[in-house]
Structures are given as structure tokens and as C-alpha cells.
Amino acid sequence: MKIGIIVPEYNEGKRAVETVNGILNCSRNLIIVVDDGSDDNSYELLKNSFDKEKRVILLKHLINLGKGAAMKTGIKMAKKRKMEAVVFIDADGQHNPKHLVEFGKVLMNNDLVFGYRSMGAEMPVVRKLGNMFSINLIKVLFKINRSDLLCGYFGFKLKIYPKIKWTSGRYGVETEIAARAGKNNIEFKEVKVDTIYIDKYKGVTIFDAFKILLKIPFWYFEK
């Protein structure tokens, strides 16, 4: 099965280069890096590092549109390259590329695979509480039982994309995909991934979480 690894990236600089290097070492798949309008030298760093690497496709958004939009651009490219499935991995080094092999194996027999982290001591308390609250809310509303709603390490076969296509441009993509998967009764499997927290001020803040909460009724009532 042809799997494309999509790496949405924004201002991650050397970390993004390290992430792509890590993926290159762990997987033989095509890597699609989408620079979401970084205002530092991330794009130049990536271009200089992987200019001659045929397995890496580098795309750049002229302006910052958000993670969800960068992911959609990655999907467009994956479709253009006739990929059958995609796996998303964050560029900030929070996701260990060694799990890609397992994602690939599970995707062979499943349409949708979510990564989940253990909610142990490594996860910040606020994030843990927010995650648990959203897991239960999504479980009640959309009948989907997830172990970690905020993990951006996941993959799916492109044939199910129309059913889970998200509208969130910025944060909330992972929650929206879970909600849509639940709504459409899409079977899924979960793969345990390492819990790595590098920058505690990055990622979903309490304000972003509030915005996600406001979107949930729209997903619920939307066709």
C-alpha cells in the first residue's frame, strides 16, 4: 500500500529537519512537508537539507493558514501522487517516527488509525484534564471511544477522507476528525505512541480548547 507521510510545519526550524531525518531513517514512504507560511528560516532549512532527497516533497503556504489547512494541502499532494493512505506526524519532535512502521501495518487492515499517548506523569495536568473532558464529551455526543483526543499522530486510507474531511483551519482538527469518524461509524484502531513534551507553551491552549468546544455543536448538527 502506498502511504504518504504528511508533516505540517510552522516555525519549527531545526526540529522540523530532525523530524524529517527521523522519518527518512524509519520509513521508505513518500514524505510531504507542508510549511505553513513560517516567518523564520524553516522553509530554507528544509529546502537546503532535502533539496536532493527524492522522497521528500516540500510545499510552502505563502501565508499562515493553520495546521488543518496545511494538512489538507498535504492530502491534495498525496492524491496527486496516487497515495492510498496518509499518516500525519507533527514537525515539532513530539512524535517518534519509529511508530510509523506500526501505523503502516495497522493501516493495511483498517481505514483509520489513531495514535494515543499514555496519560501518565509526562502529560501536563491541564492538558490531561482537558483531554479527559473532551474524550468523554465526544464519547457521549458522537459515540466514539478514544483514548487520546489531542494526539496529532494518526493516519487513514484516502478513500474515507470525504467522510472525515475537516473544516477546522487551526486547532481542533484531531477532535473534529474523531467526531466525524464517530458520526459516520468508521471503524478504527489505536496505536500507542511515546509521550514526548518539548515545549509546554506550544500546542492547544485553554483558549483554543474553548474555541474547539464552541465548534462541537456545529459538528453535531451538521449533515
Partner: protein, 110 residues
């Protein structure tokens, strides 16, 4: 005609907005239709502020006790409409920008 403070403030604001509208019209930022709509809105506001009694019979028909109540409700309705229109247009613009940025990025792949 006795003009009270609140009337003076609102009417001055109305005149200022009419002047602003005129400037934008001169700069061709707004078309004739837009100018007419906003002229009626700001002109109406000035008229109601300076001559509240002129619309009293109409207000009584609608069961408003004071002209001020009518003005407040009308202002809220206009604001809600403008907000909704803006929301729709911003959403559409966002979608168009996203599409454009995506097309450009896919054309310039490394």
C-alpha cells in the same frame, strides 16, 4: 426646538459618518448603491435624533413607548444584520484565500 446632549452627540456622529461616507465615495471605495443605503441609514439616524416627534405615530403603532426604545431596537437589528453579513463574507474570503494559497503551494513543489 430644544436639543439635549444625547441628541447632539448622536446627530454629530451621524454627520461625521455621512462625511466619512462621502470621502469613501470620492475615493471610489463604495459604489452608488452602497452610498444610497448608508446615506439612508445615517440620514435616518440624524432625522430621528433631531425630529423624534416626526415618527411618533409610527412608533405608537409598533407599541414602542419612547422613540429612544425604537432607535435602540432598530440599531440592534442593523448591527446584528451587518455582523452576520460580515461573518459570511469573512468565511467566504478565508475559504478563497486558503484555496488560492493551496494552488500556489502545489504549483511550486520542490
Amino acid at each position: 426646538m430644544n436639543i439635549v446632549g444625547v441628541q447632539l452627540i448622536v446627530a454629530s456622529f451621524g454627520f461625521l459618518m455621512l462625511y466619512n461616507l462621502f470621502l469613501h465615495w470620492k475615493k471610489k471605495d463604495i459604489g452608488f448603491k452602497g452610498v444610497m443605503v448608508w446615506f439612508i441609514l445615517w440620514g435616518g439616524l440624524i432625522w430621528i435624533t433631531l425630529f423624534p416627534k416626526s415618527i411618533e405615530p409610527f412608533i405608537k403603532e409598533l407599541f414602542f413607548i419612547r422613540t429612544f426604545d425604537f432607535a435602540a431596537v432598530a440599531a440592534l437589528i442593523v448591527l446584528a444584520y451587518v455582523m452576520f453579513e460580515n461573518h459570511l463574507r469573512i468565511n467566504k474570503l478565508q475559504q478563497q484565500i486558503e484555496k488560492l494559497v493551496r494552488i500556489i503551494s502545489l504549483k511550486k513543489e520542490k
